[in-house]
Assembly symmetry: C2
Homo-oligomer: 108 residues x 2
């Protein structure tokens, strides 16, 4: 629980993915979140800490309660990478198209 802290590592854990989906509905306190899971409040709290550290979540103190809410923008990090992947893949198919085109040209 020390060094790695990026969105990809954050969503690697199924509980954290579930927390993210849960919080799309709105901000919740650690206790409220923990109720949705089998794990203890402290375990959930650690996940919240990790998610907060990589800026997927933001805390908002209200009296003695802390409301965790989504920073949806951060999820774009994943989308960005996926987009890059798709672009590269598209490029590859472009090259394939070029090859096919060459074959067609040679044939005649």
């Amino acid at each position: 629980m020390e060094v790695r802290r990026d969105v990809f590592q954050a969503i690697a854990d199924p509980t954290r993915r579930a927390i993210i989906l849960l919080l799309t509905v709105g901000a919740l306190t650690p206790n409220a979140i923990a109720e949705h899971f089998d794990s203890s409040r402290q375990a959930v709290s650690k996940h919240l800490q990790i998610l907060t550290e990589c800026e997927i979540l933001k805390q908002e103190q209200q009296g003695r309660e802390i409301h965790y809410h989504l920073n949806a923008a951060k999820m774009q990090d994943i989308e960005k990478w996926l987009e890059q992947f798709k672009q590269l893949l598209a490029k590859r198919f472009d090259q394939l198209d070029v090859v096919l085109e060459q074959l067609k040209t040679k044939r005649k």
Copy 2:
């Protein structure tokens, strides 16, 4: 290196993400892949194994060489989750719209 095997865990590692991007260009052998990284062939091989187990990669034996190539379809697992996330988020904003609409109505 035993049990967990899903796409999210697979892309959590930066080396594995790099391998995925690298293979968008086309199939490569473990040695060819390893040349692109600092880690040993065996280390890379382990990553390939993980990526293969979760079906992001597929092997194709050719003589004593093994060509690893992408199963791009598998990446949709990530996209699917992201899509679900965005849908839920959109729903939330719909509800916000409803609230704002109500406020507007009450005001007059």
